[in-house]
Symmetry: none
Subunit: 200 residues, 4 copies
């Protein structure tokens, strides 16, 4: 599991930590499958094999749980993207590295992927400011590419938004079965399209 940052640390915390991990995975799953509002604490607790009340030992409210899940997983993912963004090669290679990271998350932890993308509509709109997003990482790569003349001029933020829009839309439809084609083929197509949009 890529984004389960908190590994067990020491014995006395162990029991609680394991329960928290179960809880986070169960909540993530419920939120993605039923929507944050529609998922009930009862369902989540049952899926995590714990009593309902115990949920509140780990998170102060359902909203807190939903937000913490979003914030932590997004931050972990963005951290990975930033690492990728520092790879050798030009802007094109870096963008492709990012795309690879998106695909890997989608394959290895689809719940986290879907949650990060979907939660934006109910959470991001109400609470962000100053949080690092995947779009920021893309924009950073593009801005650097513009200096070297690899990337066409224009607002790096807007270009990044265009790329992220394509990526999100394609992966979302892929997940819901509305789009045919293998993951590798889609990734190749996405890479090509992204470069067409931003090539200098």
């Amino acid at each position: 599991m890529i984004l389960d940052a908190k590994t067990a640390e020491n014995a006395p915390v162990r029991r609680g930590a394991a329960a928290r991990l179960r809880l986070e995975k169960a909540a993530l799953r419920c939120f993605v499958r039923r929507g944050i509002d529609a998922a009930t604490t009862k369902e989540i607790a049952k899926a995590a094999r714990m009593a309902e009340g115990n949920l509140y030992r780990h998170f102060s409210s359902k909203e807190d749980l939903a937000w913490a899940l979003y914030k932590d997983r997004l931050a972990s993912f963005v951290a990975l993207l930033e690492e990728d963004a520092r790879c050798d090669g030009g802007a094109r290679a870096r963008l492709e590295a990012l795309l690879g990271r998106f695909r890997r998350l989608l394959e290895e932890d689809p719940d986290t992927y879907a949650y990060i993308v979907l939660a934006q509509h109910s959470l991001l709109n109400r609470t962000p400011k100053g949080m690092h997003t995947p779009t920021d990482v893309v924009a950073g790569i593009l801005a650097e590419g513009q200096k070297k003349g690899e990337v066409r001029a224009g607002s790096a933020d807007l270009l990044a938004t265009l790329l992220v829009g394509m990526v999100i839309r394609v992966t979302l439809l892929k997940m819901s079965g509305h789009l045919e084609g293998g993951a590798a083929a889609l990734e190749r197509e996405l890479a090509g399209a992204c470069w067409r949009v931003v090539a200098g």
Copy 2:
């Protein structure tokens, strides 16, 4: 109001139709501002200046209301897009006509625009099949363009998805204030990017 398809037809229905119109607008507004789940029938009825129970004379349930709103407005919008898609000129001109239509809806009826886009996450995933979507219209234009050699080869559905992804993402962030730039400038940028992605 562009997408209020059902105008009053004859006298005896008139009053009920007016009430239904008020109800639809109020519900749309509430759903967009608060989310479908969070919006209550009480709020909606109050905004529509009618008693709560009266809502059920027009729709059999809140879910039915949400779905009918989505289906009708999406169908009306798609009908307009299809009209635009039959305009003279090549694929590029047609795509730009579609983009203009998107922008016009966004400006003239932002609630409807937002609802169509946002409702997908809670409604489309659970209920589509055989409905005509904006992506279908775009794909149609692209397929025809491919025949004429204006548009590059590849899955027209995938290409259309890429374009729609860019449009939705940009307009969504524009609506929530996360993206700077005037509407006209954004439309120009979008048009350029779209064409770069699909140009033959």
Copy 3:
């Protein structure tokens, strides 16, 4: 029922008003018998023969219900006391009129009596300020009596507190069965004791 001020006014309000009256009586009964905290909304609703949710059509919360009950009933009782306090005769006669009013409430509406007295410990301590209390009425009589030389000098508030303390304690123990003696005899003893405390 002495303190049910709100009588039915007009037809359209009738149904709701009757339900509200049932609710108030049931809540009063539950609060007195079980204590405000221990009484559950479920119990109250059942005793009022209505669904639990309907309670919130009349009061915004259980706390609001408890407070409204206290405030309204206390105000109604104080209004009666103030009327009594304007009777002819000297301070002694007026104090005896008040005592009679206490006894009448205790006999005719013991729930209201007990609630007014008991709620002070959980409600009065947290919310009063500027509310008229029985003690104020007594103090008013004493202050006037002091001007005429019927009542001994000293803080009228303190003297009133002493009298009210005796009355409350005696009636409380009487209600719980810890004190023997008929109501009439107790009233006579109380009247005598009160006068001895304040006589000039």
Copy 4:
């Protein structure tokens, strides 16, 4: 601390006894400040600097804790009152000694004072029988005074109730800040009023 009767007796019990003492003081404080029902075992345990579960090594339930606190502290206080009641002098002197004891408890251990008085409404009504109360001590003094002709005839229980009613009411309002005047002045007034009520 006047009423902490149980001092540590021997070494092996010592540590547990200290914890129990902390627990009792913390519980008393919480019960008085928040009310018995509203105070949570979590709060109490935290205030006593012990784990929540450990509370159950000392008391079998929260109710048991509340009751034990009431019973023990009341008994200790009554024992002191009985000692005072055996002092030399007539009924008046003895009553004044009792009043002094009330005042001393109020000043030196206001939590205990408030708890004894307040707990009656939630505990005494449900559980007394055969417990010695302050009223009993007062009644004893009055009965003896009646034999000597110092105290007027009548039910000693009723007279004692009247006195206790005055004392409780005055001190309660004093504690909640609803009554002005210094403690010494109030005690003098109380003493005067008590004697007026019972003087032969």
